[in-house]
Structures are given as C-alpha cells and as structure tokens.
C-alpha cells in the first residue's frame, strides 16, 4: 500500500517534469503540438497525486500504524472525520495536501484555457508544473508521507485534542487553497513577461482566480482566529504570532493587487507595480509555508525543527531572482500608458491604499523576522513585542478604513469640487453624528483610535450606502424599475463593483470590532465557592456547583455559573476543562455568551475537590462583528466572482479594455 503511494508520487514527479519540458519545447516553431501533450501530463500529475492522497486516507482509516504519519497523528479511538483531518496534521501530509490542491488548480487552468490564452499557456503550464516538481520531489525524496516505522506500535499517538474541532478541520485546507490559488496569477504574470504579451489579457484572465484565492485566504485567517478564540481559552483571537503573520502578509499584498489591477485595466498605469505585487504575493505564500515549516522562528504553533527550511528558502530565492530578472529585462515594454493627473482621483486613492497595504505587510515582515535579523547582525536574538504590531497596524488600519470610504466616491482621472461636495456631504454629516457617541465612550482620550474607528466606520458605511442609493436611483428613475428590482439589478449588471462594496462593509465591521475589542475589553479573575457570587465589569457570576465526569478518553470537570447583569439573570454558563487520558493533555472548554454588543467569555481555571472554582472572565465588546464581517466579506467576494453574462467568443485575444463595459 505505501509502495503504491510512493510510486504515485514518483509518477507525479516524472509527469510534472515532463510537462515543464514539453510545455517549453512547444514554444519552438513547429512544435506547438507538444503543448497538448504537456496539458495531458498535467492531468497525469493530478491523477497520480489524487491516488497518493487516497492511499494516505486509506492508510489512516485502516489504522496502519506501520506508517509513521499514521502512528504519529491518529489512533484506534479517533473518529473517522478526524482521521481524514489527520492528513494535514503531519508535515509531509500537509505538503501532500498543498501539492494536491496545486494539481487540481493546474487542471482547472488547463480546462478553462483550452481555447483562450494559447500563447500564454506553455509558460503558464511550465511555471505551475515547475512548482509541482518542487513539491513532488520534496515529497518523494526528502519527507515522504509514506515513511514507515519499525517496530510497529500497537496504537498511534492520536491527534492533538486542540485540533479535534470543526475549525481545524477546515482552516488549514482553506488557507492552502488560498496559497495555491495565488500561484495562478503568478504563472500568468510570468507567462505575460516571457511572451512579451503585456497588455491586460493576463490580468483579466486571472481576475477570478485572484479574488477566489483571496477569499479563501480571508476565510482561512478568520477561521484560524475563531479557533484561537474558542479553543485556546485566553480571551483573545490574534497574537501577532509568526504563523498568523505568515498568513496575513500574502493576504495584505493580494488585497493591494486586487485594487491596483483595476488601475491597470482602466488607465493602463501601475503595470510594473502589478507585476511586483503578483511576484511578492506568491513569494509570501511560499514564505508562509517556509515560516511554519522551518522552525526558524519560535511560535506558539511550533512544528518542531525540520530539514525543509533550506529547500523552501532556495525555491523562494529562485522565484524572486528569476521573476525580477525577467521583469527588469521587460521593463521597456511596461511603460505606463497614462500618468497621474490629480492627487484626488480614483487611481491616486488606489495608489495610497496600495502603499498602506504593502507598507503594513512590510512592517509585519520586519517585526516577524526581527529576531532572525538581529541575531545575524548583533548576535543577540531580540524579539519584537505585540505592542509594535498594534502601534503600526492601528494608524494604517484607520487610514485604510478612510480610503475604503473615500475611494469609490472619487471619479477616475480628476475630481471637480462640486462633485466632491455633493458626494461627501451626507457621509460627512453621518460622521459628525458619530462623533458624539465615540467621544462619549472614549472619554479619557486613551481610546482615541477606537473613537476614530467608530467615526471613520460610520463615514465609510454612509459612503457605501450612498453609492448603492445613487445606483438604484438611476435605475428607478430612468429605467422605471422598482426599488428592490433596482437593488438586484446593481448586482447583475456590475457584480465586481457592488460585490466589492459588500466586501468593504465586512471590512468596516471587522476593523471597528477590532478597535472596540482592543479598547473596551475588560478582564477579571474570580475565586468562588459553591453559592458565592463575584462581579466582573458589571456582570455577576454565581457558582451553582461543579460537575465531574469521566469516560474512556477524558476526565471532564465543569462548573455551572448563573450570570446576571443588574440583578437579572440572563443565562447559565458552564465552562469546563477536559483532560485527555491518552496524552495527559488539558483542554479548556470555554463558555461564551455572544450578543451583538459584547461577548461574555468564561474560562474555568481550576476546580478544587471542596468546590472552589477559579474562573477567568473576559468581556469582549463587539466580538460578534468580527465573525459577521468575515461572512459578509465572503458573500461580497462570491457576488464579485459569480459567473455572469460575459462575451463568449473565440476570445483568444481580448484587446485591452474590450472587456471593460461598465467597470467604473
């Protein structure tokens, strides 16, 4: 069985290698038929990788503890769902998952480009399969998921209890789909550079891919923080940990790319910049995998030191050096078609937003890598505390929030005063109204940036609502469409624009919630005997008695707490602790009572046999809006990529702008 898996991976490696060769060969005059051959071997890579994934799952389900990764990450009592999940518990397994997603993505690219982009495809296939060569060789020759152990253990070590929940079932694969998806814009960008076809074709071809990958990254990051919030029991959701930063950096640069692409489509500007962003995004996706797998930084997610670091570093360097050398050699072809006419124009705002996003990504990179750099330079490992990240992210986040509101209301090229006054009057009125509660809550001035987030959030929402209003009014008055009909038509006619606005609403929700949580959360510890009551931030907690139970897997303790505010009991919360017997591992089962304005979050720290319960209470304002914002962002992104009526023609070459019907 393991032999089948290994053979399949070797086959995938060989097929990928052949695909690279055949695709490149097909660029020579008269050898065009080799492109089809290369594309067929992409299918072969997919089939072989799928086989090895199926083999791995079979081994996990069959409890084959002679396989190291099965023995290390599964055991007899693990449910079948978590046996499936255990695939990406191990290092080799997670790389196998990466590779599998890559092969799926490559097949989708081949299928959707059977008649389009034929000049680009040889290079696209070569780049994607080049990455596949890297992963399949690592999986075949360096860290195989099918490595065996002897003597064969009677039972496996089991999956970490912290990973046995729905968030961890879904978070790593979603993040990986995002990472892998970003390799496709990269492949098209390289293809455009190599073939000198540097019009907007490559950008329109990968638009959906970029938005979708970005969406998966978003969901992956948000589910990761949700997992941290619910499972780790420290009352927070984000700690600027290297592994979290590893996912955030490509997300930030991809977000910048999504915006600056519009400037290129519309005005033919920022063409070099877009190339740089695509290369950076893909490199950061690889870097993210490198960070989590190399053990170069100590992280709460420490995977342990592995031997993979140098290989990933080499790949990253090759990608960076190759891409930038190619970019420099094509520089003369990438001249801007237009130049910036005004600092108050849509393209200028996009430029500011890009600088902020890339700047933030750079700051996060700097902070994350600081220990490594300082050790190399000074010989002393100096780390950067969370304070650094918070201080940098807060002003940049606020500026981004402002541009989220301002940007869509400012016309391309240049704006007249009259236009600006008309469009910004109502949003400014709303912001002025929002000043009142914001100042009231942030009385002591220490929370100025939470106040600023509330004011800017109100302003931005007003801007977006105004955009919808204008769009609907035009359709209602001129087209005689009913109001709801006009609302629906906005999405049908201009998915990307209005989908984008929905995404912006989600972003506002998240930034405001983060600011409020950061500024107004409170925490308290209580030690309560049965019947005693304690108070944290105006909430009373009464210990109504503890419970203890045990089964085959775990011992559980819990304590029942009556929670009231101002004398009215509104809920009973039961925080607990499980101790898993197999691993002697504690796992806190936090209790959370969510409402739109605040979460009451209770952790049971300990329960003595005589009934003394020690609990930690966190009151987190607005937490729910982080998760709601995430859902809204996904809905918006789905609207933006939803297949609509598109001109379907021979479309081998779409001239720049021909696809730009109503894109403003």
């Amino acid at each position: 069985m393991t032999l089948v898996g290994r053979a399949a991976l070797l086959l995938a490696f060989a097929a990928a290698l052949y695909a690279v060769g055949a695709a490149l060969w097909s660029r020579r005059a008269g050898q065009g038929r080799f492109l089809r051959s290369a594309e067929r071997s992409v299918w072969a890579v997919f089939a072989a990788t799928t086989t090895s994934v199926v083999v791995m799952w079979t081994l996990l389900l069959a409890n084959r503890f002679d396989v190291a990764d099965v023995a290390g990450y599964s055991n007899l009592t693990l449910g079948w769902r978590y046996k499936i999940t255990a695939l990406w518990g191990s290092q080799a397994g997670s790389l196998l998952l990466w590779m599998w997603f890559l092969s799926i993505a490559a097949v989708l690219v081949v299928v959707t480009n059977r008649r389009r982009n034929r000049e680009l495809m040889p290079v696209v296939v070569a780049v994607l399969m080049g990455v596949a060569v890297f992963f399949t060789s690592v999986l075949s020759f360096i860290t195989s998921p099918f490595a065996t152990v002897s003597p064969v253990p009677a039972d496996g070590r089991g999956l970490n209890p912290l990973l046995q929940n729905a968030y961890m079932e879904s978070h790593p694969p979603l993040l990986y789909v995002g990472y892998v998806g970003l390799s496709i814009p990269f492949a098209f960008a390289i293809a455009a550079l190599v073939t000198r076809r540097l019009d907007s074709t490559w950008i329109t071809s990968v638009r959906r891919w970029t938005i979708l990958s970005w969406m998966f990254l978003t969901v992956g990051i948000i589910l990761g923080s949700r997992w941290a919030y619910e499972e780790l029991g420290w009352g927070g959701y984000w700690a600027w940990d290297p592994v979290e930063n590893a996912a955030l950096m490509p997300w930030l640069v991809a977000t910048a790319f999504l915006h600056s692409v519009m400037v290129q489509e519309r005005r033919g500007m920022l063409r070099i910049w877009n190339m740089v962003l695509v290369v950076l995004t893909f490199t950061l996706a690889l870097f993210g995998t490198f960070l989590t797998r190399s053990g170069i930084l100590s992280s709460v997610h420490a995977f342990g030191e592995s031997t993979l670091g140098p290989y990933f570093l080499a790949l990253i360097l090759v990608v960076l050096a190759g891409s930038f050398a190619l970019l420099i050699s094509r520089m003369s072809l990438l001249r801007s078609e237009n130049s910036l006419e005004s600092y108050i124009s849509r393209e200028a705002i996009f430029l500011y937003n890009n600088l902020l996003l890339v700047g933030l990504a750079f700051a996060v990179f700097w902070g994350t890598m600081f220990p490594v750099l300082s050790e190399a330079v000074q010989g002393q490992k100096i780390t950067v505390g969370q304070g650094f990240f918070d201080q940098v992210a807060a002003p940049i986040g606020l500026a981004l929030l402002l541009f989220t509101g301002v940007g869509p209301l400012i016309p391309w090229r240049t704006a007249s005063r009259r236009q600006l006054r008309r469009r910004f009057m109502w949003p400014l009125v709303v912001a002025a109204i929002a000043v009142v509660p914001a100042v009231f809550y942030a009385q002591d001035g220490a929370h100025w940036w939470a106040a600023a987030a509330i004011i800017l959030g109100a302003f931005t929402v007003a801007c977006i609502v105004g955009e919808f209003w204008r769009g609907m009014a035009v359709r209602h008055q001129l087209g005689g469409v009913s109001w709801p009909g006009a609302f629906g038509q906005l999405f049908v006619r201009n998915r990307r624009r209005y989908g984008g606005y929905i995404v912006h609403l989600g972003v506002v929700s998240i930034i405001v919630a983060i600011a409020c949580q950061g500024a107004f959360s409170s925490q308290g510890d209580l030690a309560l005997r049965t019947g005693q009551t304690g108070e944290v931030a105006g909430y009373q907690f009464t210990n109504e008695g503890g419970t203890r139970s045990r089964d085959d897997h775990k011992m559980s303790v819990g304590v029942s707490l009556a929670v009231s505010e101002g004398g009215d009991q509104f809920t009973t919360m039961v925080p607990g602790v499980d101790v898993f017997t197999a691993q002697m591992q504690r796992s806190s089962e936090v209790a959370v009572d969510s409402s739109p304005f605040r979460d009451v979050y209770v952790v049971l720290v300990g329960l003595t046999p005589d009934g003394l319960a020690r609990i930690s209470v966190f009151i987190n304002p607005m937490m729910m809006w982080i998760w709601i914002g995430g859902i809204v962002m996904v809905i918006g992104a789905l609207i933006a990529v939803w297949p609509g009526r598109r001109p379907r023609g021979p479309a081998a070459v779409i001239p720049a702008g021909a696809d730009g019907r109503v894109r403003e």
Binding site: Y73, R157, L159, L163, S298, G304, I382, I396, V577, R586
Partner: protein
C-alpha cells in the same frame, strides 16, 4: 499629454512616494523602540543586569505545582523554575500571574516575558506560552509515553 506635464507629474509622484516611505519608516522606527525584548536562556539571564525586558526561553524544571493554573490566579502567583535547554544544571526561579496554557507541565518548553528582580524572574501578566519542539517529542516517545506531536496550535497564545 505633453512631455513637460509627464515630467512634472513624475517628479511630484516621486516626492509623494518618498514622503509616504519616510512616514512609514518613521512609524516603524518609533514603534519598534518601545517593544524590543531580548530572547534569552536561563544561563544568559543570570549574568544579565536588572531592568531589561527579556523573553525567557527554557523548559519547566521538574517539581512545578500540579495546580499551576490556579496558583497563577492567586496574589502570590505561580512559582516555578525554568531550566536551560542546553545546560540542565542551570535554572531560574519565575513568578507568574495570569492565564496558564493547557499544555503547561514539567519538561515542557516555554517562553515567558518579564524582567529580573533580585534573582527572581518577574513575569509580565499573561505572557506565558508553551512550545512543543521535536526534541521533546522524541524524548517522550522513547519513554514510551504518548504526546500530541508537533502539530500546529500545540499550545495557547499569549
């Protein structure tokens, strides 16, 4: 567009860009100053001066209290020793208050932020993190015990 216009726009663009980069650099520079923490092992700490903020890294020395989480909530705090990973003979006493990760126990590798005061490491509230390196995994495997291996999210955040 006239060439002179293009030139003007280009130089203005360069100025705006330089300004933005300078502003960003200043922001990073001023923010980083206040938040530096030197990574250190127990042996590095013992020879060091008082006052500096350190991130102490080592393993929990045997004999840490079983009810660590509860003790860390009391006024007296959780007291334990952190042992040097490379020189097991060297260890440093630590006083800590705040939440204790579920994975905390003897032998577990930890990182905790704080400063030295009269030979005792005074940890900042809620900064205790546990790590799970591969070395420890092997040790455990050799002893025939079981333990969840180096999987993402092995421990809790700060």
């Amino acid at each position: 567009m006239l060439p002179s216009d293009a030139v003007k726009s280009r130089s203005r663009f360069a100025i705006a860009l330089a300004l933005a980069v300078a502003l960003g650099g200043w922001l990073i520079w001023t923010s980083i100053g206040g938040s530096l923490e030197t990574y250190s092992s127990p042996s590095g700490l013992i020879t060091s001066a008082n006052g500096t903020t350190y991130r102490l890294n080592g393993t929990v020395a045997p004999g840490s209290p079983a009810n660590a989480a509860e003790r860390a909530q009391t006024a007296a705090g959780l007291r334990f020793r952190v042992r040097d990973k490379d020189r097991p003979a060297v260890s440093v006493p630590v006083v800590y208050r705040g939440s204790v990760p579920d994975a905390f126990r003897d032998g577990r590798e930890i990182v905790v932020t704080g400063h030295m005061e009269n030979g005792v490491f005074q940890a900042d509230r809620g900064t205790l993190i546990t790590l799970c390196p591969s070395k420890f995994m092997q040790e455990q495997a050799e002893q025939g015990k079981t333990m969840p291996g180096g999987i993402p999210g092995e421990s809790t955040g700060t």
